[in-house]
């Protein structure tokens, strides 16, 4: 029993240990290798890091819910791009011309509604047809991306609203708007997953669907709601990011699903469902961003970042399994 607890604690702490290790490594290595004068552990640098984590991080919270529930969503990158286009394009629609700056909340709501609907559509298909979520969202990833390209071809969709840009670039208590959204979403999803019946049911369904059905949990609506949530969060991520940048390319958000899944798995969520924590995912998001930034700091290019993150993902999977195996063996003794 104690052994099990020990390995559990080790697993839960692992991501934070990894983050500390990264911080030490990049600070020390930065002394010798970095071209810039500023230290890596600079407060401004860390705050910037939090802000840059927001787009992936907000989606990763939704992915945690969906993966704990025993599903997966590969279409988040395409949903992200669609929501961005809705946001930027709807602000130029003639029917909203009389609204002035009130067009901003309208455009936000529209983008969020579209994201939620796209997510819910995935959930509905998974529920009603019984086709595996991997296949449903793989198809949706192609289909949604197709819609993005049908809208404006290869051209970017742009619209700058300076009030909106000011809002997105504002800082409150030293944290950027995007950072606040990331923290807020993390808190809300943490509350949902640990303090509500819906969250506990999500764990139960992911752990053992048969048992959950026998216990009277309605599996279908739960999956629908969870997919709607991840759609909403993908749209929220787009809304936060593109409010500031004001221009979306049809390829934007590609490979986001891979980054998001990497962050969630690094954070300790089981790919088969039933286990995982929002706080762990937050750690995973920070760890990835730290790695990207840190490697950049010591002069490595993107190719090295890709290489290192891929290998770390595999190493984590390996270590995780070794820990699990050892825990079981100790239990036997």
């Amino acid at each position: 029993m104690q052994a099990g607890q020990l390995s559990d604690a080790m697993k839960r702490g692992a991501i934070w240990g990894f983050i500390v290790l990264e911080l030490i490594f990049f600070s020390v290595a930065g002394q010798y290798l970095s071209l810039s004068d500023s230290a890596f552990m600079d407060l401004d640098n860390m705050l910037l890091l939090l802000k840059q984590s927001a787009p992936i991080g907000i989606i990763a919270m939704g992915m945690t819910i969906v993966m704990v529930n025993g599903n997966i969503d590969l279409s988040v990158g395409a949903t992200f791009a669609i929501a961005a286009i809705v946001l930027l394009n709807s602000m130029t629609w003639p029917i909203f011309a009389g609204l002035g700056d009130w067009v901003i909340p309208v455009a936000w709501l529209l983008a969020l509604a579209v994201g939620t609907l796209l997510g819910a559509l995935n959930g509905l298909i998974v529920w009603k047809t019984g086709v595996d979520a991997f296949i449903v969202t793989l198809g949706a990833m192609l289909g949604y991306r197709g819609i993005v390209f049908m809208f404006n071809g290869e051209n970017p969709t742009s619209h700058l609203n300076w009030t909106l840009v000011d809002l997105a670039e504002a800082e409150f208590l030293g944290l950027a708007t995007a950072s606040w959204f990331l923290l807020g979403v993390t808190l809300a999803v943490w509350f949902l997953m640990t303090k509500t019946v819906h969250g506990r049911n999500a764990y139960a369904i992911g752990d053992n669907r048969e048992a959950a059905v026998n216990a009277g949990i309605r599996v279908g609506p739960h999956m629908l709601i969870n997919f709607a949530i991840i759609g909403f969060l993908a749209a929220l991520s787009a809304v936060v990011f593109y409010s500031e940048s004001g221009s979306v390319n049809p390829n934007d958000g590609q490979l986001y699903e891979l980054w998001v899944i990497t962050a969630v798995v690094l954070g300790g969520t089981k790919i088969t469902g039933g286990a995982g924590s929002v706080i762990g995912t937050f750690g995973g998001v920070i760890a990835i961003q730290l790695l990207r930034k840190g490697l950049g700091h010591i002069g490595a290019d993107t190719s090295t970042v890709n290489l290192v993150i891929g290998l770390i993902l595999i190493a984590v999977l390996f270590l995780d399994r070794q820990l699990n195996v050892r825990g079981k063996e100790e239990l036997k003794v």
């Binding site: 590969l74 009603k128 192609l142 819609i147 390209f149 190719s303 890709n306 891929g310 999977l317």
Partner: protein, 324 residues
């Protein structure tokens, strides 16, 4: 009695649904535009599907053995870049086997992780997608790769040449499909692949070396990816280092469309070929009908879900899922 016939129809649909769908598509597009069925058009579609198709053949083995391979796209970029680079350094005769060896090393690494260490194939190949992409960028220094002397080499034969009036990529695709189809359907190894994917534990207890079988499936996938990279490199004699990006999901879509279950244990090489051809002809047909290029993605989305849905609906005997 009525239910019996209904079940029989459902069974026939489940078994041959993909062929029927293929026939319907071809007929519809031909009626819409007679140019669709001309030899030239068919050759050009199959030829451009060949790269995707060759990769799908290998992934079929991996999927039947109950695993996934998301790394084939970046691995294809890798082999394309490597063979182009080595072409100028070693000459084409040495470059091709060297590239195959390097690609097979990567595939063997994945096979070792998934087969022998039994790590989750989705995450491993996701990690390798990123890692191999990084490797390719490092290898090429972020530059596009081009053959220096494009006219003075016979290297273009794999992508541009033709024999007996048939383009070489089609010949490679057809030959490989026939060979791998025989391996999967007629050899003990093929039966082991089905057994491991259908029920790994039962396969182990009946004396099948599961790890080795999975390992071999990834090697086959790697060899197919290397072949696809060779065709790609030879077709254009130069390449960006992201040439295979996103292909992994299209390949998977073709394999699923062919009716292979992601749970493993079912699927055939022949049906994968049909899946590849459906994707290729839909793309071409929609263009000929006059629709925008990107409509094909939306159509593919609908078709994939419908195909898998009808497949499992026929198996369970009910259209809607029993999930409450």
């Amino acid at each position: 009695m009525a239910t019996m016939t209904k079940q029989r129809i459902a069974q026939i649909l489940a078994k041959q649904g993909i062929l029927i769908a293929f026939a319907v598509f071809m007929l519809a597009f031909t009626i819409a535009n007679p140019k669709f069925i001309t030899v030239d058009n068919v050759f050009s579609v199959v030829r451009s599907s060949a790269i995707l198709g060759v990769m799908a053949l290998g992934v079929t083995f991996v999927v039947i053995s109950g695993n996934l391979d998301l790394s084939v796209g970046s691995m294809m970029s890798f082999s394309t870049i490597v063979v182009l680079d080595l072409h100028d350094k070693l000459g084409p005769l040495m470059a091709i086997p060297a590239m195959f060896a390097m690609t097979l090393c990567l595939a063997a690494f994945i096979g070792f992780l998934v087969g022998y260490l039994r790590l989750n194939s989705l995450i491993v190949t996701l990690g390798m997608l990123s890692a191999i992409h990084g490797l390719t960028l490092t290898y090429s220094g972020g530059q596009n790769m081009d053959i220096a002397n494009k006219t003075g080499t016979w290297f273009g034969v794999f992508g541009q040449g033709s024999a007996l009036g048939i383009p070489v990529p089609i010949l490679i695709f057809a030959g490989l499909a026939a060979f791998l189809g025989l391996v999967l359907a007629k050899t003990p190894f093929g039966r082991k692949v089905y057994a491991v994917g259908g029920n790994g534990t039962a396969a182990t207890f009946s004396g099948i070396r599961r790890a080795r079988t999975v390992f071999m499936c990834y090697l086959i996938s790697g060899a197919c990816v290397a072949t696809a990279g060779l065709i790609q490199a030879s077709r254009s004699l130069g390449s960006q280092n992201t040439v295979g990006q996103g292909l992994e999901l299209q390949v998977l879509a073709a394999v699923i469309l062919g009716g292979a279950s992601l749970l493993g244990g079912s699927g055939t090489v022949f049906k994968t070929v049909i899946g590849v051809l459906i994707l290729g002809f839909i793309q071409n047909g929609l263009l000929l009908v006059g629709l925008q290029f990107y409509v094909q993605f939306v159509v593919t989305w609908v078709i994939i879900i419908l195909a898998v849905w009808l497949d499992i609906a026929a198996k369970r005997g009910k259209l809607w899922s029993p999930i409450a």
